[in-house]
């Protein structure tokens, strides 16, 4: 279990510096408003803020009371109010209503708005339109990179996904470029750059411009990280839509990991209290199971529990001196481990209960069938039944999208009937949800009987080589222009399994989906790193509709050490899942790389679907 890294695996850079930078900047900003002040924090910023500066640090800098930004009357009697918010128009309206209420009441206070990670002109304009621009002072807290773990940096911008991939709003791209710029200033230039996706390309070009403008800053620095790979979420929706079965992903799907920590409810803690648990490499128990397929986890934990018991039991034969040693040196560690162990065992039990109740196995089976392009009719009926029985609306939506993407659109009849059923089950407002999904390309209708394109007929030849029995299904889906099927074939995403796939000793990244599917995003990264370019992947790139958006940029960098060349920063624009992280960690162990992840936010299928859903106000 918990495969050790190869001995020659490179060390990770120290990202805690990012936290210190953010904290120092925040303190500086707070001190710009000397004296006592009340701090209003936007809900979405609370957890990230908590990871940077706790309440006592805020109090040290004369923050008196803390409030959540919400639509409630404000009771603060402080003379100075400070708002820490994301640059959103609704926040501006909130602040304006507050300031204007003060004006009506003839009250004068000082107001300061701190935008994180940056302010937008539109926000200032709203402040002006609301007539309070002159009353507030604005500042920026350029806090865009939160190290959630030793190898995971999150921008904590879940709205990036909807803003960019649904609304076509590019405002966050500059923020990404700034974040990359910060990284290269702190950790040296990246000698090798790769990317795929429209947004990836834009972010990359903006970032390059920034570097050129501030020429000389990174010049001559030794690169610490040898490669950077940027990838748009829409290059691979499929992986993000799959149910997760590695432990960390499953915990995320089940309990929702928020900003690196999770609230375990009473059913997990087996007490009457909920417990907030930080999930990262420092949790030794979690560290060993986070990347494991769930089927191994319980066994591992019980073995661990037995070992722990054995260590406790050693006390029996001890004399007083040994006992003293034991108590002073080992006991605390054992107790800590004990605590963590029982928590994770509790979490496992809870997951197992939930996942069997919902007939998780059936669900996984359907997903696998969709990935492989098998028994499409049966899967469609399964989805329909799921909707008819009013299963979780998000889950139903996810399955519909998975069906659509793997089949390159639903056939018109299914498209209509599934949508009708969905509206009947979950409410007519989802008509808007469907309109969103269509725009984002997540749930579409197949065009009427197009003929095969040249590429597809070429691929279809490959398909016919496939083992008998699978031909018809695969081929018929091809006739419906299924790029996923063709890409899957090209990149060998569905491993040929002879006998049982041994999830205890995985042989490829497919283990994160029970051996059924190699995550497309990770496979692309693997292939490009192997080739150090996109060479030979032209057809895949074309099938991904990324003909113009796949790029490589190598600078001649003699100073790059061989160690740094095995450190790879992967940037997910629009979010990445824990399954992808686990898969790449596995790849890293196999190849002697270390991956560092930078994502706009950690995501999963439910979050993606929620971002697309329209909920009536």
């Amino acid at each position: 279990m918990a495969f050790p890294h190869r001995l020659d695996a490179p060390e990770l850079p120290d990202f805690s510096m990012l936290k210190r930078l953010a904290r120092d900047q925040l303190i500086y900003l707070l001190e710009q408003l000397p004296g006592k002040k009340d701090l209003f924090i936007e809900a979405d910023l609370m957890s990230p803020l908590d990871r940077i500066a706790n309440v006592s640090i805020l109090k040290q800098h004369e923050v008196d009371k803390l409030y959540k930004v919400e639509n409630k009357p404000v009771l603060s009697s402080n003379e100075q109010l400070c708002f820490l918010v994301r640059p959103r128009i609704k926040n501006m309206r909130y602040i304006a209503s507050l300031v204007n209420a003060d004006k009506v009441a003839g009250r004068t206070r000082k107001y300061k708005v701190i935008f994180s990670p940056q302010k937008f002109y539109a926000c200032e304009m709203v402040l002006e339109e609301e007539g309070i621009y002159g009353d507030v002072s604005c500042d920026e807290w350029a806090f865009s990179l939160l190290p959630l773990d030793v190898d995971l940096l999150s921008m904590e911008l879940p709205e990036f996904f909807r803003d960019y991939f649904l609304e076509g709003d590019q405002r966050w791209i500059n923020t990404v470029a700034q974040a990359l710029h910060l990284l290269s200033t702190l950790y040296g230039p990246f000698p090798n750059c790769y990317g795929i996706g429209r947004c990836a390309k834009m972010a990359y070009e903006l970032w390059r411009k920034l570097e050129e403008e501030e020429d000389g800053e990174t010049k001559g620095r030794r690169p610490e990280i040898g490669h950077i790979f940027l990838l748009d979420r829409d290059v691979d929706f499929v992986t993000a839509l799959c149910s997760q079965v590695v432990y960390e992903g499953l915990v995320d799907d089940t309990f929702r990991i928020k900003c690196g920590s999770v609230d375990f409810g009473p059913e997990v803690t087996s007490s009457d209290k909920s417990l907030k648990v930080l999930l990262n490499a420092e949790d030794k128990v979690f560290h060993e199971i986070r990347n494991e397929h769930f089927s191994n986890v319980f066994g591992f934990l019980s073995q661990k529990a037995r070992n722990l018991q054995a260590q406790y039991d050693r006390r029996r034969g001890m004399d007083i001196k040994q006992m003293k040693n034991f108590v002073s040196q080992e006991l605390k560690g054992l107790k800590q481990e004990h605590r963590l162990l029982s928590l994770h065992i509790g979490a496992c039990e809870s997951i197992m209960k939930k996942k069997t109740k919902q007939d998780f196995q059936e669900l996984i089976k359907t997903e696998h069938a969709l990935l492989e392009g098998f028994n499409i009719r049966e899967s469609t009926s399964y989805i329909e039944e799921h909707i008819d029985r009013q299963g979780s609306p998000i889950e139903s939506l996810r399955l519909m999208c998975l069906l659509s993407i793997t089949e390159n659109g639903l056939i018109p009849k299914d498209y209509r009937s599934l949508k009708t059923q969905y509206l009947q089950s979950y409410g007519p407002e989802h008509l808007l949800t469907f309109s969103n999904l269509r725009r984002a390309g997540l749930l579409t209708e197949q065009g009427p009987g197009d003929t095969l394109t040249a590429v597809e007929s070429k691929v279809s030849k490959l398909v016919t080589d496939k083992a008998a029995g699978k031909i018809t299904d695969a081929f018929s889906s091809l006739a419906k222009r299924s790029n996923f099927r063709a890409i899957s074939k090209k990149l060998n995403l569905i491993p040929r399994v002879d006998g049982e796939y041994d999830l205890k000793v995985p042989r490829d990244m497919a283990y994160v989906f029970s051996g059924a599917y190699v995550p497309l995003s990770c496979r692309i990264i693997e292939q490009v790193l192997e080739r150090r370019s996109w060479q030979g992947l032209d057809e895949v790139v074309r099938l991904l509709n990324c003909g113009d958006f796949a790029f490589t940029d190598m600078t001649k960098e003699d100073k790059a050490s061989s160690e740094s060349l095995r450190l790879i920063l992967v940037v997910f624009l629009g979010g990445c899942t824990f399954s992808e992280i686990s898969a790449l960690r596995f790849l890293g162990r196999e190849k002697g790389y270390r991956f560092i992840f930078l994502t706009t936010a950690v995501t999963n299928s439910a979050r993606l679907m929620e971002a697309m859903s329209e909920v009536k106000a």
């Binding site: 128009i89 609704k90 937008f120 002109y121 539109a122 304009m125 709203v126 339109e129 803003d163 609304e167 076509g168 709003d169 590019q170 405002r171 791209i173 500059n174 470029a177 834009m202 070009e205 903006l206 411009k209 050129e212 403008e213 020429d215 000389g216 329909e384 039944e385 008819d388 029985r389 009013q390 209509r416 949508k419 009708t420 059923q421 509206l423 009947q424 089950s425 979950y426 409410g427 007519p428 407002e429 008509l431 808007l432 309109s435 329209e614 009536k616 106000a617």
Partner: protein
């Protein structure tokens, strides 16, 4: 050497001075200096001379000449004065010559005699004419103070950011003050004036009488006053030949001196060397020069920084020398060479005899992509000289497209600015241009421009979604985007409308839009929603309870749970709820009610389209094994084993599995065999397996 001190003369008890010629002036003056207005710029800057023919009230038959010399008398410029009578000259800190005319107009020239701009000191000044004027320097820049014919003062503390301030009246002032000066205290400019034996201090709010501490008695008039360059010290010369020296705050006297000369001096100025503790006032009469000194406190002058020195060289167009200095001092390119090249380029664009192409090329050749050079700044200068085309050519060299935007906007090339802003990737910049365009174009053109720029359009839409919903609607209308219009009205039916009638109307508009968009599905779904809403309203009226905004499924469920089975059936028919869904729905609702009788009746109403396993499952879920068993027998063969296991009949499940010879089923049953009770069954399965393998 024996006589180091030979040419030093004593000045008081402890100080000495000497006199020697530093250099001789190169100029060849035709006029007497006394007949000219003279202004020398601070820090050894240029000197301006204007023969003043107006003072003697002679007819101006000959136009006067304005000459500008360097500090050493090298001629820099010479031009005929064609404007009105000048009262006073003065240099600004930026080495711009300010010529104050009698009518209150101030003409600004560069040190090469190039006309820069002019401004007026206001109507009051224009009406009453300028009697006297002073150019003064503060830490914010250079200012102008005017004494008008009406004996009122008007001043501007910074001519770079012109704000005129008319000072309050001095009560009872009938004639011009005998002398006056500008004082600068606490960052505010004041005027100190002497009227007979009285001194007044004017600030922008009030006029107050002031006195000098320790002033000797007997003074009936002040003839001259001088303030030091730093505004810290003040000296006054009285009609008794007495000199008072003190702080400009008028709080302290430093020293006094009686020179016994009662004639008014021509000039009186403070002088002292940098870092010297000695301060002195030099008083000049027609044929006499007197130095009055005191030594106590240190004065420090701000020295010229290297940047200012370079600026001055650049101003004198000594570009190569400036560059050499930069290189010698190893200044970073951005602060040094690049800056000077940029200045050179700005000069270059003013050469109107050279074609746009040549200027642009010459500049690009010399500058290339030197770091720190802003082509947009140079272009701005070109535009300032009226060379728009050259400006656009120069902008093309600007690598940062964002930098091109402000100037393009200024030049009214808004659409080009929009493309450049989009290219820059800076959404804020795009937004700025959009607002500009919105004001500049009519609505139709503005929308049309947006239409061609999807990125800008998305950005603007996002803004409208939150701030200007009506504009959003107009945008969709303009584009005939009926699909989005439909969605817009659907959203409105939830968010904006409260009353059912309003909501239905919004939905009707949405449905019409969807038809236009040829999205029949959405149109029909919307019509269904309208029907459902009306129906829900009626149900609430007739039955009470909550129906509005439930989904169709939940509406039917609610009816069943409330015992309104007929209504439920009717609704299901009206909305064509498929059989399968209806069965799932009824099954769940009746089980929730634990109405087992009704459930059984329902199960027998016709053949279940969803099979009977769900019946078993739901009964077990409600912990009713007895009911579950009723349905287990009706479950079809494929799911029989599952059903039997659910009701706990392991033995029979084993029998069925064996009969089916289904390995998967066998292992499923086996996994349910627990403890001793199922031992026999387990054995049975193992035997069946063994047998199957033999075959």
């Amino acid at each position: 050497m024996d006589c180091y001190t030979a040419n030093w003369n004593p000045l008081g008890d402890s100080a000495f001075y000497r006199k020697y010629e530093l250099y001789s002036m190169d100029w060849d003056l035709k006029e007497e200096l006394r007949d000219c207005l003279v202004a020398a710029a601070p820090y050894g800057g240029p000197i301006a001379l204007l023969r003043n023919p107006w003072r003697k009230e002679k007819a101006a038959s000959v136009r006067p000449v304005l000459d500008i010399y360097s500090a050493s008398g090298m001629p820099l410029a010479s031009l005929l004065w064609k404007s009105g009578p000048v009262v006073s000259l003065g240099w600004s800190a930026e080495e711009e010559l300010l010529c104050v005319q009698e009518d209150g107009a101030v003409l600004v020239y560069g040190l090469h005699g190039d006309f820069r701009r002019h401004f007026s000191m206001g109507n009051e000044v224009l009406q009453n004419r300028v009697l006297d004027a002073r150019v003064f320097h503060t830490e914010f820049g250079s200012g102008v103070a005017i004494l008008t014919g009406a004996h009122r003062f008007t001043l501007s503390a910074n001519v770079g950011d012109l704000k005129l301030r008319r000072m309050p009246e001095v009560p009872g002032l009938q004639s011009a003050p005998s002398c006056w000066t500008v004082l600068c205290q606490d960052r505010v400019a004041h005027i100190l004036l002497a009227v007979g034996p009285d001194l007044y201090l004017l600030d922008h709010a009030a006029c107050s009488a002031v006195t000098l501490p320790g002033l000797a008695p007997g003074v009936s008039s002040f003839l001259q006053m001088a303030v030091s360059f730093t505004y810290r010290h003040l000296a006054l010369f009285t009609d008794t030949g007495y000199i008072w020296m003190g702080t400009a705050s008028l709080k302290e006297k430093l020293c006094e001196f009686n020179c016994n000369i009662r004639a008014a001096p021509k000039q009186m100025v403070w002088c002292s060397r940098p870092r010297s503790k000695e301060r002195a006032v030099v008083v000049a009469w027609e044929r006499r020069l007197m130095v009055v000194g005191d030594a106590s406190e240190s004065i420090q002058y701000k020295q010229l920084t290297i940047q200012v020195l370079l600026d001055r060289l650049v101003l004198r167009r000594l570009y190569p020398l400036a560059i050499q200095i930069c290189e010698y001092l190893r200044l970073p390119e951005v602060q040094g060479v690049s800056r000077i090249l940029a200045h050179w380029a700005c000069y270059k664009v003013q050469q109107k005899d050279v074609s746009d192409e040549d200027v642009a090329r010459a500049i690009n050749q010399k500058l290339g992509d030197t770091p720190g050079v802003s082509y947009s700044d140079i272009a701005a200068r070109a535009y300032g000289c009226g060379r728009t085309e050259l400006a656009i050519k120069l902008l093309e060299y600007e690598p940062r497209s964002g930098e091109q935007v402000p100037l393009l906007l200024k030049m009214k090339r808004s659409k080009l600015a929009l493309s450049k802003a989009i290219e820059s990737g800076d959404t804020d910049l795009v937004f700025t241009v959009l607002l500009h365009l919105k004001n500049e174009l009519n609505r139709g053109d503005f929308f049309m421009t947006l239409r061609n720029q999807p990125m800008a359009l998305s950005l603007y839409r996002q803004f409208c979604k939150h701030q200007e919903l009506e504009t959003l609607k107009d945008l969709y209308n303009q584009d005939d985007n009926h699909q989005e219009l439909g969605s817009f009205h659907i959203r409105a039916s939830y968010a904006a409308e409260e009353r059912i009638e309003g909501r239905v109307a919004a939905l009707q508009t949405a449905a019409d839009a969807f038809y236009k968009a040829k999205n029949e599905f959405a149109a029909k779904a919307t019509e269904d929603q309208m029907r459902l809403l009306r129906l829900q309203r009626r149900l609430e009226d007739e039955l009470g309870g909550q129906f509005l905004d439930l989904s169709l499924h939940d509406t039917v469920t609610t009816l069943i749970l409330g015992g309104h089975n007929k209504r439920a059936e009717q609704l299901a028919r009206d909305f064509r709820i498929p059989d399968k869904r209806l069965w799932w729905l009824k099954l769940t609702a009746l089980a929730d009610l634990e109405d087992w009788e009704e459930l059984e009746k329902f199960s027998k109403s016709k053949k279940s389209p969803i099979g009977y396993l769900p019946f078993v499952e739901i009964c077990i879920k409600q912990h009713n094994k007895y009911e579950a068993k009723k349905y287990a027998s009706r479950v079809g063969p494929e799911q029989k084993v599952k059903a039997l296991l659910l009701v706990g009949d392991v033995a029979q499940a084993a029998d069925v599995a064996i009969e089916h010879r289904n390995e998967a089923e066998l292992s499923l049953v086996l996994s349910h065999c627990t403890g001793a009770t199922d031992g026999a069954t387990a054995d049975k399965i193992q035997r069946a397996r063994a047998q199957a393998q033999k075959k």
